[in-house]
Symmetry: C2
C-alpha cells in the first residue's frame, strides 16, 4: 500500500516564508481571527485524518468500486464511516459561510487540506468536493430561505450536493442542453431530462442529496443565455428539513471508468422531478461559473495530490530498491547492488515530479491568495486586481497543473519498473485516478482556450500585463546569489511577451489562431509561472538556514536547466500557425474509417 | 467497441514507394521468393484476422482477465479459439526458419503483421510473441536435436515458449539472479528458484509450454558472466514429443496489472524442475540478446499498434461528435453544433498522434530492413553495416517509439473528453495496455542508457557517424519542393552532432553524464530520426499523384512546426549537466518518509 506523509514542512514554508500569510490575514478584517498556530493545528489534523482514515481505504475503494442496486448507489467499504468522521471533524464546514455555521477559512488554508485529501483518496474527496461546489453556488445565488435550508445541512454533512450540467450530447457545449423545466402552479418546476457524468449523483453517505440542475424553461432563449439553475432534492423535505418521499430524480446507472472508481459517476434521470429556481431565470451559467472558478483550482490540487503521493512512493522505492551499480562507483559495497536512487536517470524522474509538486503548490497558494483577496478584502482596488488575476490564472491552475501532474505520476510509476504496472503497489492507480483531472471541469484544451481567448486576446492583455510587470519587478529585486534564477525568469517573461505579441497579430488575421495555439501557449505560460514560483521560493529560502532551505536553489536549478528549456519550444509551437492544422480536409481524417 | 481498419495504404506506401521493398527482396537470395503480390495477400489476410477475430475479444479480455485455478492459468473467453485460428492460419510460422517448417518471411513484412496484431489485441499478441522470442533463441543457440524438437511445434502452435529472466530482486540487473541449476547424472539440470513477471508463463492455449530459464550453475562466476540458459518444459516429453507428466515448473500466482489483463503475467516457481542447457554454459545472456534485439522492435510496434487504433477512433469520434461552433464560422448550419474536428486544438491532438504513427511505422520498416539485411544478406560489408545500425537504432525503436505512443494514446483519449475516461469506449484500455511497452523488455530509461552509453559513447560514434552521414547525403539530394523538410532535417542533424560532441566531452570528466543525459538525448535523437522518415516519405510521395500523396507534405510540415521544436529543448536538457541531479543527498529524497 502506498505511503503518504503530508508535506507539512513545505506547506508551512510556502504559507509562512514565501507568502507571509499571517501578515495578510491580520490585515484582512474577515480573516484577522486566524493565526499561524490555528492554521498549523488544522494542517496537522488533516495530515492525520488523510493518512489514517482515507489512505487505508483508497486501494480497496478502487478494487471494490461504487455500485448501484435498485436505483441506489453504494460506496465501497469504509467510505460511509470515513465520511462520518470527516463531517464530525468539521471538515465539511471549513470554508463555509460563518453566517450559516461555516468556519470561514480562507482558500490558502483549505487548499492545503484539499491537497492532502486528494493525495490520499481522490475518489472519496470528490463527494465533499461536489457539495462544496453546491454550497458556493447556493451561497452566491440562493434566496435567504434556500441558504438557511441547505447550507447548514451541507456544512454538517447531513446532506450532500451535486452539480448536474452535462447531457449525452452536450458536454463542453452547454448551450444545447435539452433538460426542460416546466413551471408548476405552486412556484416550483417540473424538471425532465437526462444528465450524465454526475459525480456523486447518488450515494449512501448522507440522508439527502440536493442536485443543482441546469435546465431550460419553456420560452428560454436558445444557447447559453437560456439556461437556468434549479435545486432538485433526492428526497422531498418540509420547511424544517424533515425528509419525506422520493423525488423523481435518481441514478439510472453508473459509469465504469479508468479510475476514481469509488466515486460514483452517475447517469441521472429527471422525470418530472420537482425543482426550484435558484438565482434569476436564464442566468444559470453565472451561478455555475461562481462555483467553477473556485473548483478549478481544486482540480489543480487533485493533480498535485496525486503527484505528491506518486513522488513520495517513488522516492521511497528508489532508496530501497537495489539494482545495478552506480556508474561513478559502487555506493553500497556491503550489498549486492546499489540503490537505484544512485542512478542519475532515476533522480531525473524523481526531480521532474518534485519540481512540479513544489512549484504547483506555490502556484496554487499564489492563486488562492488572490481568491481570498477577492472574497475577503475590503480594498476595492485590491479586489478588482485579484478578480482579474484569478480570471487569468485559474485556467492555468487547472489545465497546466494537471498536465504536469500526469507526467509526474507517470515518471514516478516508471521509477518502479515492472512493479509500477502491478496494482498492488498503487502507482498505477495514481496514474488512472489523476488522469481524470485533465478531462473534467472543462478539459484542459478548454482551459487553454479560456486562457488565450477570453483572458488574454479578448481584453488585449489587460489581465496579463500587470502579471508580467509584477514578475519583472520581483526579478529586479532578487538577490545576487539567485542570479541564475533571475536571468532565467526574465528570459521566460521576455519570451512570453514576444510570443503574446506575435500571437495577437496572428489572431487579427485568423481567429483560428487562438484555438490552434492555446495548449502550447498555456504550457509556455505555465512554465514561466513555475519559474516565478521558484524565484519566490529561493528568495524566501535565502533568509533561512538549514538543509531544507539550502536545497531550494538546487531544485530551482534543476527546474531551470531541465524543465524550463521546454518553454521556448512550446512558444515556437504556439506560433506555428493554424494552417498546419486546418489545411487537411475532413476526408483526410476519415481515411482509416 | 473501438474500430480498427488496418492502414494498408500507408503500409504499402512505405514498403513499396519509400523503401522499394521488391528491389531489396529480389536482390537478396533468401528473400527472392517473395514478391509484392504475396506480401500484399499476407497483409490483407492479417488485416481481416486482426479486425474480425482479435478486436472483438480485446475489451472482453480486458474485463475478464486471465485467471489462475489450482496451478493452471486460463485465458479469457475466445482466446483459445482465436489462437487456434491464428496457428491454423500459419501465422505462428510466418518468420520461422524454413528448415524447420517456417515460412522465412522478412521482418519488414512480419512487422506489419505485428502492428496489426498489437493494434487489435495487445494481450493476445503477447502469447505468440513470447513464443517467437523462444524460437529465435533456440534457433540461434540450440542443438540440432533441440531445434528439431521445439521449432516445428512452436511453428505449428502446438507448443508455446516463454522467457524467464526476472526475479523478485533482479530485474534490470540480471547479474544478481539466484535461480540455481544443479547438474543431474543424466546430463539434465535440476532448476530451482522463483521468476516473476513471466509473460505467458502459463496458459491454456497449447499442449505444452517450454520455458527458457536463466539460471546459475553451482560454480558459475559472479555477475552476468555466470548466467546460463536452460530449456524447461511444463510437461515432460519423450523424443517423439509425446507429452507426459508435469515438470516441477509452474505458476504460483498471476499479477493484477494496470493493463494487458488478458495476458497472464506469472510468478513461476521452479522446484527441482528438469531442464537442459541451451548454448554454452555461462553464455545465457548472449542467447537472450539475440532474442531481445528482434523483440525490442516488436515492443516499438506494440506502441504503434496502440496509437494507431487510438488515432483511428479519435478521428472517427471527432468527425461524429457535435459540440460548439467552429471559431472561424459555422460549418454545419443544419445541425445544432459543428463536429469537434473543426476545432483547431482537436486537430492538433489528432495530428500529434498521426504524425507519430506515420513516422514510427516508417522508422520501424527502416530498422527492419537492416534486421533483414543482417539476417539474409550475403554481402559481408552490408551485413556489418546493418548490425551496427540495428545496434544503434534498436533502443530508439523501443524507447522513443513507445514514449511517443503513450502520448499519442493520451492525446487520442483526450479528444473524447469524459467519454475517453469511460471503459465502454475502449480508449482508456489503449492507454493502460500501451503503457506497459515503456516498462518491459528493458525500461525506456535502460534503452536510452544503451543508446548513449554502449552504442554511442563507448565506440566514439562509430555507429552514429555513418547514420548521420547517410541522412546528410539524403537531405542533399532532396527536391526543391521539399526545401522546408530538407532545412529542418539538416538543422536537426546539426543539433544532434553538436549535442553528441559536447556530451562526449562532458562524459570524459564525469561518467554520470551518460545516464544523466540519456533519456533527453534519446528523445532528441528520435525526433531527428522522425524528421528523416518524413523527409523520405515526402520525397517518395513527390513521385506520385493523388490526395493520399499530396497530404504527406502537409503532415510533414505539421511535424516540423509543431513537434520538431522539442528537439532543441531536449538537446539543452541532455547537456544540463549531471550535477543538477547528483547534488542532492539521499536524505533529501527521504524527506517525506
Amino acid at each position: 500500500m502506498p505511503i503518504y506523509n503530508a508535506p507539512l514542512e513545505d506547506m508551512r514554508f510556502i504559507l509562512n516564508d514565501v507568502f507571509k500569510v499571517e501578515d495578510f490575514w491580520k490585515s484582512t478584517e474577515d480573516l484577522s481571527f486566524l493565526d499561524i498556530a490555528t492554521a498549523d493545528a488544522i494542517l496537522e489534523e488533516m495530515a492525520k485524518f488523510s493518512k489514517n482514515v482515507l489512505l487505508p481505504i483508497n486501494r480497496s475503494g478502487d478494487e471494490e468500486g461504487a455500485r448501484i442496486e435498485d436505483g441506489q448507489v453504494y460506496t465501497p467499504k469504509g467510505f460511509k464511516e470515513a465520511f462520518k468522521q470527516y463531517a464530525e471533524g468539521g471538515w465539511m464546514s471549513l470554508a463555509g459561510d460563518p453566517e450559516y455555521g461555516g468556519q470561514g477559512m480562507p482558500k490558502m488554508l483549505t487548499m492545503m487540506s484539499e491537497e492532502m485529501l486528494m493525495a490520499t483518496n481522490q475518489s472519496f474527496t470528490l463527494y465533499p468536493n461536489l457539495t462544496n461546489g453546491a454550497c458556493l453556488a447556493i451561497n452566491a445565488y440562493g434566496s435567504d430561505e434556500q441558504k438557511a435550508m441547505y447550507l447548514p445541512r451541507f456544512y454538517s454533512g447531513e446532506w450532500a450536493g451535486t452539480m448536474c450540467l452535462t447531457e449525452p450530447h452536450a458536454g463542453t457545449d452547454l448551450g444545447i442542453i435539452r433538460t426542460k423545466a416546466v413551471p408548476n402552479d405552486d412556484g416550483s418546476y417540473a424538471i425532465s431530462g437526462t444528465k450524465i457524468f454526475i459525480t456523486g449523483g447518488d450515494h449512501d453517505l448522507t440522508d439527502n442529496i440536493v442536485h443543482l440542475v441546469l435546465a431550460k424553461t419553456p420560452d428560454a432563449p436558445a444557447g447559453t443565455r437560456g439556461i437556468s439553475m434549479f435545486i432538485v432534492p433526492k428526497f422531498m423535505h418540509d420547511d424544517e428539513g424533515n425528509v419525506g418521499e422520493r423525488n423523481g430524480a435518481g441514478p439510472g446507472s453508473i459509469e465504469h471508468k479508468m479510475g476514481i472508481k469509488a466515486s460514483a459517476t452517475c447517469v441521472m434521470n429527471f422525470d418530472n422531478a420537482k425543482g426550484w429556481l435558484i438565482g434569476p431565470e436564464n442566468k444559470g451559467l453565472n451561478a455555475m461559473f461562481v462555483m467553477m472558478n473556485y473548483e478549478r483550482l481544486t482540480m489543480g490540487l487533485q493533480g498535485l495530490g496525486g503527484s505528491e503521493t506518486a513522488y513520495q512512493n517513488a522516492a521511497a522505492y528508489a532508496l530501497d530498491r537495489l539494482q545495478g551499480r552506480a556508474s561513478s562507483g559502487v555506493t553500497s559495497p556491503e550489498k549486492e547492488a546499489d540503490p537505484i536512487l544512485h542512478h542519475p536517470d532515476v533522480r531525473r524522474m524523481l526531480l521532474n515530479a518534485k519540481s512540479h509538486n513544489e512549484a504547483a503548490r506555490c502556484f496554487a497558494v499564489y492563486v488562492a491568495k488572490f481568491l481570498d483577496t477577492a472574497k475577503f478584502s475590503s480594498d476595492e482596488a485590491a479586489v478588482k486586481e485579484a478578480h482579474d488575476r484569478v480570471a487569468l490564472l485559474t485556467p492555468v491552475a487547472k489545465g497546466f497543473l494537471t498536465d504536469m501532474a500526469l507526467d509526474a505520476c507517470i515518471d514516478s510509476q516508471q521509477v518502479f519498473g515492472g512493479h509500477g504496472y502491478v496494482r498492488e503497489w498503487g502507482m498505477e492507480q495514481l496514474v488512472r485516478d489523476t488522469r481524470i483531472a485533465q478531462i473534467y471541469e472543462g478539459t484542459n484544451g478548454i482551459q487553454a482556450l479560456d486562457l488565450v481567448g477570453r483572458k488574454i486576446v479578448k481584453n488585449g492583455g489587460a489581465f496579463l500585463t500587470p502579471y508580467l510587470e509584477e514578475i519583472k519587478t520581483f526579478a529586479g529585486g532578487m538577490s545576487a546569489e539567485n542570479a541564475f534564477m533571475k536571468d532565467a525568469l526574465l528570459d521566460a517573461v521576455s519570451t512570453i511577451e514576444d510570443t503574446t505579441n506575435q500571437l495577437m497579430a496572428l489572431v487579427k488575421d485568423n481567429i483560428d489562431e487562438i484555438n490552434a495555439s492555446c495548449v502550447d501557449y498555456m504550457h509556455a505560460f505555465g512554465l514561466m509561472s513555475y519559474a516565478y514560483m521558484f524565484a519566490m521560493m529561493v528568495e524566501a529560502a535565502q533568509e533561512q538556514s538549514g538543509d531544507f532551505y539550502s536545497a531550494k536553489p538546487k531544485l530551482a536549478e534543476f527546474f531551470v536547466k531541465r524543465r524550463l528549456p521546454e518553454l521556448k519550444a512550446r512558444a515556437a509551437m504556439a506560433l506555428a500557425g493554424a494552417d498546419t492544422l486546418m489545411d487537411m480536409s475532413d476526408e483526410y481524417f476519415a481515411q482509416a474509417l
